[in-house]
């Protein structure tokens, strides 16, 4: 027999894996003897295995991640034991997951959402990993991977930009030019309206796309630093600067597709595919809706136009996905090595083979196999002075989902009520940010 004191005090992993298999009902009766019986089988102590919790549940990314782990096994002989959950469920349960017996390494997002769990002590700092991999990443990515305490907690894998997408053929046919300033942008919208196009496709039924529009206008108008302060709850939503951003938004709202609150982003993207709309501000995942290769070839984008010359187009919204280490990894030595591997361009290459709408987070990556769209996205992100993540990743998720999403839906329909809307946002923000 083994030295395990009792079934109930077994170390995490075997108990968790068992519980998952046995199921709640059986645990009441048969679970406890089973636990003590199998306690010593030793998945916990296995030095050749690292466990990894993954939210990549869609078949294509799932396969792409599996390819990375297979390549790692070939290289190092270490098995990555992947526990994949539906991505929405993974996000909704992240709290209890990280407090229970999480896997050694887990997939997550950069930015505030990472820092939140780091500050709660639910992740392990990985400065040792970054000593090896910091040369692979540009400064902006390094900044994204640090917690509030200045330590590293995150290894980025891939990223994608938000920008204004359009069809080259439409612009060529009508003689439009890519606008770089706000005035050009407005003029272009007016021209498109004259040409019977919907200037800006828009669908906000899922309530998050509007957050992206606000982000762009706000950091172009007020700069990266103010945007970060606003997202972190430090700056006030009743500040005149915020009001100015909303005024600019109200100026272009009439050029947005009508009935946006009832439309999904997929339907809005279809109007761009069918050339009924001229432009669409969204993440590069909009390319997923271009199923015909010729249409995809025709898709292009430009950075959201400059509003204040002091800030130009220096900020790019580039949500970044990657990995973190949980608070008490069972196999820390190997988890560190795995993260070192995941921080190489090599691992990123394997992933990106299957996801043509994202780009490498590393600046040392081989971009020769990129499509024109990817190349442009890559240049835009690596040339950025600052990177933002998206409002629901840069701010508290409870604030964005319960306050900002309904508030911005309301603004889209009724831009005149902006003052009372902003003071309502500010009041609610204060209580939410005070509560942690």
């Amino acid at each position: 027999m083994h030295t395990t004191p009792s079934g109930l005090t077994l170390p995490g992993p075997s108990r968790r894996t068992l519980l998952r298999g046995v199921g709640g009902a059986a645990v009441l009766g048969a679970g406890i003897p089973l636990l003590s019986a199998c306690g010593g089988s030793g998945t916990a102590a296995d030095p050749k295995t690292v466990t990894l919790g993954s939210k990549a549940s869609d078949p294509v990314p799932k396969k792409a991640f599996a390819d990375i782990y297979a390549a790692y096994k070939k290289k190092s002989g270490i098995t990555v034991d992947v526990n994949t959950k539906d991505s929405n469920t993974f996000q909704e349960q992240i709290n209890s997951y990280l407090q229970g017996t999480p896997d050694d390494v887990f997939t997550w997002f950069a930015g505030y959402r990472m820092q939140f769990f780091a500050a709660k002590g639910l992740a392990t700092p990985i400065d040792d990993v970054w000593q090896k991999i910091s040369g692979n990443f540009p400064a902006a990515m390094q900044k994204l991977s640090k917690g509030e305490d200045g330590k590293y907690y995150f290894v980025p894998l891939y990223t994608y930009p938000w920008a204004v997408f359009y069809r080259k053929s439409v612009f060529a046919e009508k003689g439009y030019e890519v606008p770089t300033t706000w005035d050009d942008f407005i003029a272009l919208c007016k021209q498109m309206q004259k040409d019977d196009l919907v200037p800006i496709a828009f669908g906000d039924k899922d309530a998050w796309p509007a957050l992206g529009t606000f982000d762009q206008i706000n950091f172009r108008k007020n700069g990266y630093d103010f945007h970060v302060d606003l997202m972190a709850g430090k700056a006030s939503w009743t500040d005149a600067k915020v009001r100015a951003a909303f005024d600019l938004w109200a100026e272009i709202l009439p050029y947005h597709q009508e009935g946006a609150v009832g439309r999904t982003w997929q339907d809005a993207a279809q109007t761009l595919v069918s050339k009924k709309a001229g432009m669409y501000l969204l993440g590069s995942f909009v390319a997923q809706q271009f199923t015909n290769p010729d249409d995809l070839e025709d898709l292009d984008f430009f950075a959201f136009p400059e509003i204040d010359p002091a800030y130009g187009q220096d900020t790019v919204e580039a949500p970044t996905d990657g990995f973190m280490m949980s608070k008490n990894p069972k196999n820390k030595a190997e988890a560190v090595k795995l993260l070192e591997y995941l921080g190489t361009p090599e691992a990123e290459d394997i992933y990106l083979k299957s996801d043509p709408s994202s780009v490498h987070a590393s600046s040392k990556a081989d971009t020769s196999s990129y499509s024109a769209l990817q190349k442009k996205a890559y240049d835009m992100i690596s040339g950025a002075k600052s990177l933002t993540q998206f409002m629901d990743r840069d701010s508290r998720p409870d604030f964005t989902s319960t306050v900002m999403q309904p508030a911005l839906q309301k603004f889209i329909r009724d831009p005149k009520g902006v003052d009372s809307l902003l003071s309502s946002i500010e009041r609610q923000k204060k209580t939410i940010f005070a509560s942690s």
């Binding site: 309530a207 309904p406 839906q409 942690s436």
Partner: protein
Amino acid sequence: MSTDITKEIPEAAAVPPPGAAPARQKKVPQGHRRLLTRRDRLTLGLMATLPTILHIALVWVTALASIALAFTTWDGIGFDSIQWVGLQNFKELFEQNPQFWPAVQHNVIWFVVLIVIPTPLGLFLAVQLDKKIKFSRFYQTAFFLPVVLSMAVIGFVWQLVYNPDTGLINSIIGANEPGKYIDWIGDPDLNLWAILVAASWRHAGYMMILYLAGLKGVDPSLREASAIDGASEWQTFKNVVFPTLRPTNTIVLVVTIIEALRCFDLVYVFNGGAEGTELLSILVTNNIVGESSRIGYGSAIAVVLLLISLVVIIPYLVSTFRKERRA
């Protein structure tokens, strides 16, 4: 004797008051001590205590815990981060949350509409089907079919019908072009009514079946008697049939109240509770489910929902028990 025992057990398990159950369970073996073997008593004990424990743990403890949590703020990470804040959650809810009062209002509208439109419609359909017209079975099935579908499926189906660009309605009336849009899903003046059409569509079928069952129980001699007295069809219905449907009406009322308070899945799938369709149940979910959740605040909303349910349910229970006692 064994029949006696089996009668006792479900009662002990099903009667909710936690204090009463163990007492009753003690009484049972005592009264029949000599007739029950040790094993019987053990089985009985297990059968009574296990459900009681489960009931207390899953119903009472959780309900009381969420009431307690309503006076705290908690992000769900570690029990030591629970902070007592008194009535602050409620104050915030009543004074600051722009979605709260609309949500209460929508729950009430939901109830009123269900009572005023689909319920009489269901009664009407039931009366017609009760007349043994041709293809009665076919009509019954057709009207009842939506009740069999899950609310989420209904939400999905109607969301396709109402889709502003490709939906059935806008396509037929030509409202899917720029300048003519009718935004059934997003426009707060329209979306609640649009979704209530879907809810009524289902509810009418439900009510029809309940009334149909009630009508089958009406004594045919009553109708004969009123026919002999020369009453018209409407008079018969109004003065003879409808009064005998009283028990059915009570059930219908309770079912409709429950439907109005728990409505969630339909709206959640339809448009996620956007402006115009906020509901208390959706606010609870949005605040509690997800990362860094506001569990205290969400619980406060749930408590409000609980209070509303109690206001409705207690008078009903009181009157039912009073009747039982009289009988």
